[in-house]
């Protein structure tokens, strides 16, 4: 399966610049919804926003209100928000409970094979990734710069990196690919 995912990634790199509107995911490598069925998060709209989270990462949890705020502001402007749970050990029931507890309004997918992790170049939770509808990764990294390191944080963020990208896209501006390092709980590599 990892080989497939690797292939998918390479495939994407090769094709995204030429194949507008192509499905970035081969069907068998798709992440799954909470019902276990494959899900394609890349749908029509301005862009797809992935937010990597886990149920027991305190930094990821602390961002729940900010995720809600961004969702409420941008989903209606044509952005697709998805929560992505990369830990294969988290069950669908635990995730449902977590979504309810933290009042996440976004759709949810599980990424037990780390297909989305690799596509998004995610390394920690919380981390965000923004894909254009043609499957280009145009931003990945922190939501904002509130956390400087584990245990070191600003009283309030001074740069809202994800929102800057979303607002540029919402205004229809050209956005070149960028990233900013995220601080949080390391996503464990698959055995």
């Amino acid at each position: 399966m990892r080989a497939v995912a690797f292939f998918v990634t390479m495939f994407l790199v090769a094709l995204t610049s030429t194949l507008r509107g192509a499905d970035p995911l081969a069907a068998e490598a798709r992440p799954v919804g909470l019902d276990g069925q494959p899900v394609d998060p890349f749908q029509s709209g301005k862009a797809t926003v992935l937010l990597f989270v886990r149920t027991d990462c305190p930094i990821s949890n602390r961002y729940a209100p900010e995720v809600r705020r961004l969702h409420d502001k941008y989903e209606s402007q044509g952005f697709n928000f998805w929560l992505v749970y990369p830990d294969p050990d988290e069950t669908s029931d635990e995730i449902r409970q977590h979504v309810k507890e933290f009042a996440y309004p976004c759709r949810v997918l599980r990424d037990p094979e780390h297909v989305m992790v690799r596509l998004s170049k995610a390394s920690v939770t919380p981390e965000s990734a923004v894909f254009t509808t043609d499957g280009r990764l145009i931003y990945h990294g922190r939501i904002d710069d509130r956390y400087v390191d584990l245990g070191r944080k600003r009283p309030a963020p001074s740069a809202r990196n994800l929102e800057e990208v979303l607002s540029s896209l919402a205004r229809g501006e050209h956005v070149s690919a960028s990233s900013a390092p995220a601080v949080g709980c390391a996503i464990p590599t698959l055995p």
Partner: protein
């Protein structure tokens, strides 16, 4: 307040029945009330922490320090030797799992191999940086009780284990899992107080500082030998435990629509147990008094918890409780707190390495039992040490990188003996640059001394145990003299900068009055109320000053004080005394009763009421 517990009409300023706010518990030095000046009381001062019995000479303390500083660096093991079951589990269980378990307070458990493996990279990172376990003092300079600090050996083992892919090891090498209890750790408490109504912490926003009032329902004075705090939630980050014998905190609570009340400045009546620190942080167990050093808690006291909370992303129900263990043994000695501090803090915007120092020469032999550093978000290095009369240096505390979130008091494993003439020193540095992520001001601004978290403080408190009661009094008087001098110097400077600073006039007046410089004190009080006609404390002291010389002025000043703050029970008590002396017994009773409404059981007021009853019944 014990020294003023005898009911006697107040006839001079320093003996005025200032029923509360006296920060000290020892028999009455005339300046003791100054020790309780708001600026000091409202800071991080609290505690009840005790150290194991036994004395060590300074020599052996120094040897002890030397032996720790020679901590061996990690010797890497042959590749493949280290595994979880044999090497890592014992470290994690001993140093992490106290919190990192179900109901342990930390966000996730670290009990099994799978749990540790899934976090392996984070564990390696945070132990290497010493973010975890949270413990600010550097090792190798002085030994503290209950240190939550990894050795170089332990950190090295974790690093190598993670670097080699975090192997599990043979099942047979896993020791039995320790048992943790979620019950009170010292058995059934004598009294448990719980926050009556839970507070709901919002899911988002900045950190919250809030004061919670927990009635104890204590009917008689008790001596406390141990205290244990229990958080019901992970969002409580640190808590200072204080007490209020008056009803002022309850009323502030009632005036606020939510549970508790906000703000960092507490009513002056809120005190930590005299001579003790009392605080809680995640991972901290019960705080026990050492034999002979229990402390008294007065009937009718409410617990006031000054809590620091961090939002978690969802609404959190906060409802902590505090357990008390009492003893019938009367204390045989009492510790005394001294504070090294710097009111002159004035940190330029952008300064990377602003430094403040303070020192104090001990007038008696004493043992240092515990230390409490306090600064806010700009503080970086914290150092405390003593220069002994023979010139040797004894470390008391060294913090390389201060972290407001993990502030605590620290008890020495063995008391540190300091001979008379030792000079205890504090040194702190501050980073007010934009590179300090915790800086509350971006871009940075000039920051001065103050209680709010956007202001700064520099304090190092030492819990000292003098050899006997006489030495205790000498220490207290000497320290109070020094404090008065500091206050006079500081407030005079403030007035040079701004002659219309009412607060500076009033604080300077109080210090001068304590030195019997009555005319000068009076002049500054008058200036204070001229600048700020609603300055309650200044009116109160003007009343006290006029009690003997001009009853009409005193009456007017006390009335004005009460008009500004109907809950000023000291003003009501003094006004009652004034009426009593004038034979206006009905009015006197009215005032005493009103004072008792605010501060039920106030012994000074009750004593005065008793005198009044005798006067009413014809002596």
């Amino acid at each position: 307040m014990s020294k003023r517990s005898k009911a006697r009409p107040a006839l001079n300023p320093s003996k005025s029945p200032a029923a509360s706010g006296s920060g000290t518990k020892r028999r009455g030095s005339s300046v003791a009330w100054l020790v309780g000046l708001g600026v000091l009381v409202a800071s991080g001062v609290v505690f009840c922490a005790l150290v194991r019995p036994g004395r060590v000479s300074t020599d052996s303390a120094l040897q002890l320090a030397a032996s720790i500083s020679n901590e061996r660096p990690y010797q890497p093991r042959p590749p493949g030797e280290i595994n979880f079951n044999r090497h890592i589990a014992p470290i994690v269980w001993q140093q992490c799992a106290g919190c990192h378990r179900e109901k342990g307070g930390a966000p996730f458990p670290l009990l099994s191999y799978a749990q540790a493996k899934a976090r392996a990279r984070d564990i390696a990172k945070v132990t290497q940086s010493r973010y975890m376990p949270p413990w600010l003092p550097e090792g190798g300079v002085v030994a503290f009780a209950d240190e939550r600090r990894l050795t170089l050996e332990q950190i090295g083992l974790i690093q190598q284990w993670v670097a080699e892919g975090s192997p599990e090891g043979p099942a047979g090498e896993l020791p039995p899992l320790p048992a943790w209890s979620d019950e009170w750790q010292l058995g059934r408490p004598d009294l448990v107080a719980e926050l009556p109504e839970p507070y709901t912490l919002p899911p988002d926003g900045r950190d919250v500082y809030r004061n919670f009032v927990l009635p104890m329902g204590l009917k008689e004075k008790r001596y406390v030998k141990a205290v244990e705090f229990k958080a019901n939630t992970r969002v409580l980050h640190h808590v200072f435990i204080r007490f209020d014998r008056t009803r002022q905190s309850r009323r502030l609570d009632a005036q606020d629509t939510e549970t508790g009340f906000g703000g960092m400045a507490l009513p002056p009546a809120v005190e930590s147990p005299g001579g003790y620190f009392l605080s809680w942080q995640p991972g901290r167990g019960p705080v026990r008094s050492r034999p002979g050093l229990s402390w008294a808690i007065q009937p009718g006291s409410d617990i006031v918890l000054q809590a620091h909370m961090q939002p978690s992303g969802k609404p959190e129900r906060v409802q902590p409780s505090v357990a008390f263990y009492f003893t019938d043994e009367i204390p045989t000695n009492s510790p005394f707190k001294i504070g090294l501090s710097s009111f002159e803090l004035d940190i330029p915007a952008g300064a990377h390495n602003y430094e403040r120092r303070d020192s104090y020469v001990l007038p008696v032999n004493a043992q240092v039992l515990a230390v409490l550093p306090h600064t806010h978000y700009l503080g970086r290095e914290v150092e405390g040490y003593a220069v002994l009369p023979d010139g040797r240096k004894q470390w008391l505390l060294k913090i390389h990188q201060w972290d407001f979130n993990w502030q605590s008091d620290y008890r020495y494993r063995e008391p540190v003996s300091l001979p008379k003439g030792s000079r205890v020193e504090m040194r702190m540095t501050f980073d007010n640059s934009s590179e300090n992520p915790r800086n509350p001001n971006q871009p940075p601004v000039r920051v001065k001394y103050g209680l709010q978290s956007s202001d700064e403080m520099a304090e190092l408190w030492l819990q000292l145990l003098p050899e006997n009661a006489q030495d205790g009094i000498r220490l207290e008087e000497d320290y109070a003299r020094r404090l008065v001098e500091d206050i006079i110097a500081f407030q005079s400077r403030m007035l040079e900068q701004n002659p219309t600073n009412a607060h500076a006039h009033a604080q300077l007046a109080k210090a001068l009055l304590s030195r019997r410089q009555l005319a000068e004190g009076l002049a500054h009080l008058r200036q204070a109320v001229q600048i700020d006609p609603n300055y309650e404390e200044a009116h109160y002291h003007l009343g006290v000053l006029a009690q003997d010389s001009d009853p009409a002025v005193a009456e007017a000043e006390f009335n004005r004080t009460i008009q500004i703050n109907p809950e000023n029970f000291k003003a009501r008590n003094n006004l009652g005394l004034l009426f009593m002396r004038q034979g206006r017994l009905m009015e006197a009773e009215e005032q005493f009763q009103a004072a008792l409404q605010v501060n039920p059981g106030d012994r000074t007021v009750m004593g005065n009421l008793e005198l009044l009853r005798r006067a009413q019944t014809g002596k």
